[in-house]
Symmetry: C2
Subunit: 533 residues, 2 copies
Amino acid sequence: MYQELLGFLNQASTMQQSYKLKASPLSEKYLLELKFPGNGDNIADADRLRQALETQIGCPVSIPLELLREIPEKLRQNDWKVTVTIGYYWPPGWGLERLVAELVEVGPGSDRLGPFGLAVDLGSTTVGGYLWDLGSGKLLAADGVTNAQTRLGEDILTRIHYAATPQGLAELQQLAIMSINRIIDLVTKQANIVPQDITAGVISGNTTMVHLLLGLPTANICRNPYVPVVNAPGFFPAAMIGLDLHPRALVYLLPSVGSYVGGDILAGILASGMHRQKEVSLLADIGTNGEMVLGNREWLVVAAGAAGPALEGGVVACGMRAEPGAVCQVRIDPDTGKVTYRTIEDVPARGICGSGIVDAIAQALQAGIINQRGELREPLTSLVVVPAEESATGHPIELTAVDIQRLLRTKAAANAIMATLLESVGCTFADLKYFYAAGAFGDHLDIESAITIGLYPDLPRENIIRLGNSSGTGASLVLTDINKAQELEEISRRVTYLEMNNSQQFMAHFTAGLFFPHTDLDLFPTVKARLKH
Amino acid sequence: MYQELLGFLNQASTMQQSYKLKASPLSEKYLLELKFPGNGDNIADADRLRQALETQIGCPVSIPLELLREIPEKLRQNDWKVTVTIGYYWPPGWGLERLVAELVEVGPGSDRLGPFGLAVDLGSTTVGGYLWDLGSGKLLAADGVTNAQTRLGEDILTRIHYAATPQGLAELQQLAIMSINRIIDLVTKQANIVPQDITAGVISGNTTMVHLLLGLPTANICRNPYVPVVNAPGFFPAAMIGLDLHPRALVYLLPSVGSYVGGDILAGILASGMHRQKEVSLLADIGTNGEMVLGNREWLVVAAGAAGPALEGGVVACGMRAEPGAVCQVRIDPDTGKVTYRTIEDVPARGICGSGIVDAIAQALQAGIINQRGELREPLTSLVVVPAEESATGHPIELTAVDIQRLLRTKAAANAIMATLLESVGCTFADLKYFYAAGAFGDHLDIESAITIGLYPDLPRENIIRLGNSSGTGASLVLTDINKAQELEEISRRVTYLEMNNSQQFMAHFTAGLFFPHTDLDLFPTVKARLKH
């Protein structure tokens, strides 16, 4: 967890530096110095406040009934000088010209703190939260917790099946709510505010996670023709969806494009900026379910949910998540064949995580311990990374021949998705300018190793960009800038989904990718040069 | 109650004939035949429905969370052919270009009934309800009940004071809700539907009544500078304000202009149509609290809440409401002085109601039993309408000298308001083209008698128009035609309120009015001619 937290904080601070906030977050505070009512000016309290606010912000203001009840006393207590907190919303798909400001709170005129907003990456494994001071544009705290739903199933499909059992959906919904509320508790304590101070929220998640959070049935998501209940759920008051923020805080659920293209992917596109560039980029979240986006400012094609077994964790026998004791770095001396390694937090090795696996394969390839077909040099039966006597388990941490073949297939699947995407728009690898590596996995991977085994394209290294948690970054962008929210809805209208499962091209490219780095070595010129040494 | 009911039904049927409904009520039903999802068309269920509907109606559709949960099953159960019921709303003051349609219900494609809507006149004494079939534009039922709040106080001021006591506001709120729910029960049973079938509501009431219904504090309404909590409360789901309609039915509270100019007055203006006419009209609701509106399509001036004691009920010792046993018609033979009368439902007389009082004074004046100063002919000490032996009480039903003087003062107050209003805009009685008599009182009053005593202006009789319950009519117009709702909001922006209480002119005109029909007999030429006979 500590490692994850560090990851979140690092990503968050990077984000803070690289995006300048404009003064249009989803929640704002305004100081209103109202005229005292008097003879000839006896407009009603709420309308006086509403009209003063509408004049300032230029869009309709709606006032919830509970606040109507409190406004007369609040105005008089504070001598008609109040600070109002508003939250913006709009009908999904109708844009900023349909913007409405909902009055969330009325406080004393001296109130200058915040407003505060929470961006959430509702991942199926980890839930990340980012607490922003929307007034100053500063990130106050960030943290991550394991999604409590994992106790009912690691993968999405298991949860979809569980949701179809009696009370299953309600249980999963409660666990999602609980996970977010845990994050809220953590980040507000860190920032020394209370949850009720948070007056806007943005949640980014894949389509299934958003459905489970809202208690929407998920059965049709995994059933042909893969139809979700809703792509654009829009805004809900926090109290309505069980979140521990200000009860009237409006929470925006990022839209999705379909069952396989969730708001998390759209948030990633937004965070990368690829949708605004002339050049063609590829965005890949290879760590978990191999989502990829190819596109530029004119078109965007997404492939998702078809990458085969994930690289992180379970693909190899000794695999584990990036937690303390996981081998995360491997070096092999090409002359002596001697293996050195590092583990997370430098404790005795318990297993090997994604970045360690990629490193091990790349180094073994360069040392001639495995060949380009992924076969171990005779008479080896496995690539031992940590001998039994050094490991915490008493068993060697190793990659077997079967493990390596599995990895080769996963890598080939990634190649095949990229190639099929490129082909679908009439491009080749040569047209690719930038490669965005999203997710925690992409953050820790050694780029050279990833290129060496053919997982990343062989681009100039400065054009390979780590995005970190792009889903959380995208959610934060939307939270802190209403124009980014609009941009994300535009992205959702431009994205095309390319189905891989039934694709002939995919199978052809898959076969061509069953080679480290690839059967067509010319696609990887720097690797070709290196391997020829 | 029967008499009231008859009154409501009569007015309602008149209304039905005189206003052609357009196909834009506040709730509508649409049959949607959606395309089945399939390969290449796997947009989410709710978005499929939303987009199909938005294409038809041309404005954003919002879908409540509870409906999102039900939509997948409802679409599949009904083979993608469903009837959706929507309710329109807009941010108060922002007009139709900001219209949003909220999805209220999704039902089978075969559902062709309704939709149904309820217009409510939330009077301080009587609550009237009008149940409309918004699909066919037909009035299905109308009824009235006594406002249950009357048990806590007959007049508004008593209730405002009661609302300031602990739990007082909550109690008055519950009684208002209860009264409306009683009406809902009555009209739905009459029309053989259930309350949940009603998917839109419009409530017209004076400013205080609307505040009490919403549980808003009323203390500042009766305190200088007379500031309500809200003039434009807008729309609320029925469940939120405790009304027994479809829980998601949107209920529109008509806006008010101030503490003394409620939505009921604006509804009256709307019902009269005076705001669209070139000629100057006067609208008067003399029965209860003497509200008057003077204006045309360019300007509207309102005087309200300053008419002194009401004519209905309590102003004379033998006075009673227009209920069975009330003398409602009086004739006096000018030669013999013989009094004949009629009572409501022709049962023995228990008292005299407003129309009976006005008749009695007018007839006595013409018979020379009272003079133009309101003095009884010597040696009479009272005007006996029903001798003791004929009455149900065993006492005579009579108007005493004090009663008559009270009435003269009430009449003079009405004259003074009219004259002050006219003067405020530089008009005279000669400029007046139409006179609209609003309220149940105006409905039963004999027009000749009202002119004879100087209560109504002496206009050509065809220019004196009875509006009936103009508040209920206005609410029905808004419910059945969204353009009328906009028109009413425009009226609210055009209305000016003229304060009478501190007016010097008012006092001068009041003095001039202390004469039947008036000190200036030339203002009442037909009466002048008749009295000279």
